[in-house]
Homo-oligomer: 412 residues x 2
């Protein structure tokens, strides 16, 4: 039998159709968890799965799983999927590419009558972006058992309603989530847009992910002395704007000098008080987001930055606080699936790179207990979470073909 | 005759009384232009001047002038005063010290029957702080003719009402301001708190001001590329937060390296977009306030900063805008009055310093046409425009004695 491939026309239809379930037409795609648009998109996808005779189950928080039985119903499932929720004014491709790729994979397997022992499951995780309930990856965390009923009751939207309450209102049964049995999954593969410019810059088609970076996220506060910008000589200032500038530059320098070439450090947020042109700032708050797949270099670099801030503030008589707001360890993805992916990508003659992911993804949550894999397709200019988000269809086609090849292999 | 001196008890009474006309008791002093508290303070001061048989005139915008005739009514006046408006939650001393010092000067001259040929005038300028109508020194600018009716109609409060409208509502006749004749003033002297820590750091009692610094005020905008903080490698970033940090540090460095020891440069305001911890900033706006009494060094240093920003942004492919929002030339105060002040301060045995003012003051506005002088008394810890603003009464007493001595000398 000739090697089967995906049908780009169907993929296009799915992606364009899903983009219509959008609360902000003309201003990017906005499809928030449990919204009207979310329900429409879910119904469309459930309908597509049912047309393929898949058995569809929805858990208490709204994760959707469609199952295509294999020859041996006792075998563990091969799972693939992603998410369909978006940020506000996001793009058409983030999450959707992986869901549509999963759907197309099952279609091709069905229409070619490809025999497989393992069941194949499509998964659509809810609230990956955290745009509604303030925290990312909630669906996959509930799915994996990392989050319980208590967490769902604690995560609230901007109106103060919990995800638990909103799930009930949406017609789900969130009380059931602590009772569910763990599913028997052999492997999970997620196809996703890269959301960066590494593939594009290197003219590559596919990224095969080794590790997902660990993260440390800080809030740093410096307190100096607000004073008159005209009347206070330079040598009598306690200027936390200048001090913050030194630290922000230091962060970039120490991260770039690290032996690890996968480490990144970002100051994404800064607030100044009183924030008036003619007053020397009395207080600056800024964030630090530092990530690496190498736990040792992450820890060491974070420590260097903490030490530098503490030492310089002491010397300059500046009060400071360094608050670690959150952290997560790096995640190792499946070596086995990576090797399969490399074989498949070579046989398709696609240009690829084994790389790391600086962003978190649902498969990372499952990686502790399940062989997990993450595949990237390029993002034009690295843009994501914005209306300009774009992955050309020929790249999506390649990603879906690779996903198809891997699922067929694993499901044998 | 023994040398007359001020009566500290009366000065204290005036200062404490004025502090009662306050919209925010317990949270600093708030006395905004044309407010109820402003009217009460104005009435108190007008009352005090009338008790001294002074002739009180109020111009169309609310500047108050009280006149004590001299032996020769054809001579030009010696004027002294300051302002009584405050910022929100300001202090008890900013402006008030100069007004109370002027009042006490006239009291001492009257009670000691000190003969003087020149009339002596007390002036209280409105809206010096700009806390209500968004621009400083409005009263003195109208007084000097630098501002006309048109300007008063253009300056608006946060509710959108013009100073013209509010002046009318307050019972003034702003339509008259373009018609007034220029007053014949021989000299004007303003006693003011320093609002910085130079006098305190050097254990001095009095500052005699040579020059008021010129200023250039900029808004600077950098546009990079907002991208995912985890997914974007360090070498592929266009991070305007890091670039801004470099410029802020450069500004401090180049200002400190200037041959001029009077130059100061301040970045007091910064705003970041989207200002989210896990997104590399796509846009940063920050201000630059640069001042010096030396026009050449001010211009040269400002040019260096402009050039550096333009050059680095070009090299880094970052869009930038450098907008000069306002500027004023340095102001030379009266050498003649300075020499008189130095003689008087020496004969009082006060510790003094001839210094510059980084802050603007009403006398600076009049300096073009009139011999103008500015005297400073210390600010504890340099604090001003805040509830903690403090000048010890013994320092205020010294300042008022010096003012008295100078006015008596000039009025002969």
């Amino acid at each position: 039998m000739e090697r089967p491939s995906v049908n780009l026309k169907r993929i296009k239809t799915d992606i364009e159709k899903l983009a219509e379930f959008n609360a902000t037409p003309g201003e990017g795609v906005t499809r928030l968890t449990y919204s009207k648009e979310d329900r429409e998109a879910r119904n469309y996808l459930i309908d597509q799965m049912k047309k393929l005779n898949m058995e569809v189950e929805i858990d208490g928080i709204g994760n959707i799983v469609g199952k295509l039985e294999g020859n041996n119903s006792k075998k563990a499932s091969i799972m693939t999927g992603s998410h369909i929720d978006t940020v506000k004014h996001g793009g058409k491709y983030d999450g959707v590419v992986g869901v549509v790729g999963a759907l197309e994979t099952v279609r091709v397997i069905k229409e070619n009558n490809i025999s497989h022992n393992h069941p194949i499951e499509i998964v659509i995780f809810v609230e990956e972006e955290g745009a509604t309930f303030g925290s990312t990856l909630i669906g996959s965390k509930v799915f994996s058992g990392a989050y319980t009923l208590k967490d769902i009751k604690n995560h609230r939207n901007s109106d103060g309603y919990s995800m638990y309450e909103k799930a009930k209102e949406f017609g789900l049964n969130p009380d059931s989530i602590d009772d569910k049995e763990n599913k028997d999954i052999k492997a999970i593969i997620e196809l996703h847009i890269e959301q960066s410019i590494v593939l594009e810059e290197n003219n590559l088609h596919i990224g095969i992910v080794n590790d997902i970076a660990g993260i440390k996220w800080y809030e740093i506060k410096l307190e100096g002395e607000a004073n008159h910008a005209g009347a206070t000589p330079m040598n009598l200032r306690k200027d936390v704007m200048v001090k913050s500038a030194e630290f922000i530059k230091y962060i970039e320098t120490v991260v770039k000098q690290s032996k690890s070439d996968s480490i990144v450090g970002t100051v994404g947020k800064i607030n100044c008080k009183p924030n008036v042109p003619n007053v020397i700032p009395g207080e600056i708050n800024f964030t630090l987001d530092i990530r690496d797949v190498n736990k040792k270099s992450l820890e060491e670099t974070a420590q260097k930055i903490e030490d530098k801030i503490a030492k310089d503030c002491l010397e300059s008589n500046i009060n400071h606080e360094i608050n670690l707001m959150g952290e997560a360890s790096p995640i190792k993805l499946s070596n086995n699936i990576k090797e399969i992916a490399i074989n498949k990508v070579k046989s398709r003659d696609y240009k690829y790179k084994v790389m790391n992911s600086g962003a978190v993804h649902d498969v990372g949550v499952l990686a502790k207990n399940t062989d997990s894999a993450l595949l990237f397709v390029p993002s034009v200019a690295g843009k994501s979470h914005c209306p300009e988000e774009l992955t050309p269809y020929e790249d999506i086609e390649r990603g879906c073909n690779l996903l198809l090849d891997i699922v067929i292999d694993l499901a044998q």
